[in-house]
C-alpha cells in the first residue's frame, strides 16, 4: 500500500519535471526540473526495490551514487548557465526566445 | 510514567510548532515573522526532543537527541541574524 503511494509519487514527479523542462525557458529552472525527473525516478526505483522480502540494497547503492552524480551534473550545468549569462546577458537559450 | 511524559511534552512541542507557523502566516512584516520562526520553533523542537527522550532505549540515543537540539539552536541563531541583516541591507526586492 504505502510502497505504491511512493512509487506513484515518483511517477508523478517525473511528469512534473518534464512539464517544467518543456514549459520554463529560464535555464536554472530547467536544471531544477531536470533534477525533479531524476529524483522521481530514484523514488520509483527505491519503491520497486523494497517490494520483495526486506529492502534490496542494490537499488539503494545505485540511488546513493545517482544522487551524488546528479549533484555533480547540476554543478556543471549551473556553471554553464552562469558562463552563458556572462557571454550573452541572457539565462535562456537564444533560439527559444519569444518573438517580439 | 515515561509514556505520560512523552504525551505531555510532545503535545506542548506541537503547540509551539503550530503557534510558530501561525505567526509565520499571520504576522504583518518580515521582521516580526522572524520572531515566530526562531523562538517558537526551536522551543517546539526542544519539547519534542525531551518528549521522545523518554522513549529512548539507550543513553547514547538521548545524547544524540540533545546534540540534534544543540545543533538546531546554533543554526537557527546564526541564520536568523544573517537573514535579518540581509533583509535590512537589501530591502524588499522581488
Amino acid at each position: 500500500m504505502s510502497l505504491s503511494i511512493f512509487a506513484l509519487t515518483g511517477a508523478a514527479l517525473v511528469g512534473i519535471g518534464i512539464y517544467g523542462l518543456l514549459a520554463q525557458a529560464h535555464l536554472l529552472r530547467r536544471v531544477i526540473a531536470f533534477n525533479l525527473i531524476g529524483s522521481g525516478l530514484f523514488l520509483f526505483l527505491g519503491a520497486a526495490g523494497s517490494r520483495g522480502i526486506g529492502i534490496d540494497p542494490i537499488p539503494q547503492a545505485l540511488i546513493i551514487t545517482g544522487i551524488v552524480v546528479a549533484l555533480s551534473a547540476s554543478a556543471l550545468a549551473v556553471t554553464l548557465v552562469v558562463a552563458l549569462a556572462r557571454a550573452t546577458g541572457r539565462a535562456t537559450l537564444p533560439d527559444e526566445e519569444t518573438p517580439r | 510514567m515515561a509514556d505520560l511524559a512523552t504525551y505531555a511534552l510532545t503535545a506542548i512541542g506541537l503547540v509551539f510548532f503550530v503557534a510558530g507557523t501561525a505567526g509565520l502566516i499571520r504576522f504583518p512584516d518580515t521582521f516580526s515573522r522572524l520572531h515566530a520562526l526562531t523562538k517558537a520553533d526551536n522551543l517546539g523542537l526542544g519539547f519534542i526532543v525531551m518528549g521522545i527522550g523518554f522513549q529512548t532505549e539507550r543513553w547514547s540515543q538521548l545524547a544524540v537527541l540533545l546534540l540534534i537540539w544543540a545543533l538546531a539552536l546554533l543554526a537557527a541563531g546564526t541564520v536568523a541574524q544573517l537573514v535579518a541583516r540581509a533583509a535590512l541591507t537589501t530591502g524588499k526586492d522581488e
Binding site: 511512493f6 519535471g17 517490494r51 555533480s72 539565462a91 | -
Partner: protein, 308 residues
C-alpha cells in the same frame, strides 16, 4: 494511520515539486527545491532506506541550496534579462501527464521480483552494512567509474573559467566581518562537522553511513568554512588539493590491481583482507568525494565580482 502519514508526506512532496516548476520567480523555485530535498529525505526515511535518506539530506541541505542560491545571486548581479513567461503549457502538461501515466501503469504491470537474499553472501564482503558491501565490493566497478565521473565534472567546471582568472583562487573572493556571527559560525561548526563526517565514514562499514554520505557531509563543512572565510579556496594548480582529488580513485585502482594479482581478478577482494581494504578505499574515497563536491559547488576561478 501509517498510510495517512505517507499520503500527507507524498502530498507535500508533490506540492513542493509542482511549486518549483509553475509560476514565475527563479528565487522561489530555488527555495522550493531546497525544501523538496528535505521532504524527499523524510520520504526515504519512511521507506526504510536510511543510507539514501542520509545522502539526500546531506546533499540537499549542505550543497544543492548553496549552489543554486549562489548562481541565482550571480545572475541577478549580472542583470540578465527577466525570466520569460512559461510557454506551450498545454503540450508540456500533456507530455508530463502521459509519461507519468505510463510509469504509473508500469508500477502495477511489472512483476514483483523477490529481492536477492544477500544474507548468504554478506559475510563474504567483509562488511556488515549491505549498502556498503554493494558499493565497495559486489559492484565496485560502478563506484570506481562514478568517482571518475565526479572528477570529470570538476574538470568541466574548471574549463568554463575565463583565461584571465585561471591562476586565481577558485570561486569568488569570500570575506566576512571579523568576529561577526558568520565568521564565528565558520569556526564553531566545521570541527563538529568534521567529527561527524569521519564518524559516518568509519561507521559505514557495519552501520548507517559510508564514503558517499560522509564525503558529502565533509564537502558541506569545507564549503561552509570557505564561505565563512575560515578556509581559503585553493587555485587550480594547488598540489595538495590535486592529490586529494585523485587519491580516492587512485587507491581504488591500486586495490583493484592488487586483487587482480593476488585474487580472482580486477577489483575482487579476498575475504581475509576485505574489511581493511574496504576501510582504506573508503577513507581515501571519502576524502576525494569531499574535495571534489566542495570544489564543484565553489565553481571555477572567478574574479568578476572584484572588478565589478
Amino acid at each position: 494511520m501509517s498510510a495517512a502519514l505517507d499520503i500527507a508526506l507524498c502530498a507535500l512532496i508533490l506540492g513542493v515539486g509542482l511549486a518549483t516548476v509553475v509560476g514565475r520567480g527563479v528565487f522561489r523555485a530555488v527555495i522550493f527545491f531546497i525544501t523538496y530535498g528535505l521532504l524527499l529525505a523524510i520520504g526515504w526515511a519512511r521507506l526504510g532506506a536510511i543510507d539514501v535518506a542520509l545522502a539526500e539530506a546531506a546533499i540537499s541541505a549542505g550543497l544543492t541550496g548553496a549552489l543554486l542560491l549562489a548562481a541565482q545571486g550571480r545572475l541577478r548581479t549580472m542583470k540578465t534579462e527577466a525570466e520569460p513567461p512559461a510557454r506551450a503549457r498545454l503540450p508540456a502538461a500533456l507530455a508530463g501527464l502521459s509519461v507519468a501515466c505510463v510509469l504509473g501503469w508500469a508500477w502495477f504491470a511489472l512483476p514483483v521480483d523477490q529481492a536477492p537474499d544477500l544474507s548468504q553472501v554478506l559475510p563474504e564482503s567483509g562488511v556488515g552494512n549491505p549498502v556498503t558491501a554493494v558499493l565497495l565490493n559486489f559492484r565496485a566497478w560502478d563506484t570506481l567509474l562514478e568517482s571518475v565521473v565526479l572528477l570529470t565534472a570538476l574538470v568541466g567546471v574548471w574549463m568554463l573559467a575565463q583565461d584571465a582568472d585561471w591562476d586565481a583562487a577558485l570561486g569568488p573572493r569570500f570575506h566576512a566581518r571579523p568576529n561577526g556571527v558568520l565568521a564565528n559560525f565558520g569556526r564553531i561548526l566545521p570541527p563538529i562537522g568534521l567529527i561527524f563526517g569521519v564518524y559516518l565514514v568509519w561507521a559505514g562499514a557495519d552501520d548507517t553511513g559510508g564514503a558517499f554520505q560522509g564525503g558529502t557531509v565533509l564537502a558541506a563543512v569545507i564549503l561552509l568554512a570557505m564561505m565563512a572565510g575560515a578556509l581559503q579556496p585553493p587555485s587550480v594548480a594547488h598540489p595538495v588539493w590535486r592529490v586529494g582529488l585523485v587519491l580516492g580513485p587512485l587507491v581504488f585502482v591500486l586495490a583493484g590491481i592488487a586483487g587482480a594479482l593476488l585474487s580472482d581478478g580486477f577489483l575482487t577482494l579476498p575475504l581475509t583482507i576485505a574489511k581493511p581494504a574496504i576501510l582504506t578505499i573508503e577513507a581515501a574515497l571519502s576524502l576525494s568525494i569531499a574535495a571534489t563536491l566542495a570544489l564543484l559547488v565553489i565553481g571555477p576561478p572567478d574574479d568578476q565580482g572584484q572588478d565589478a
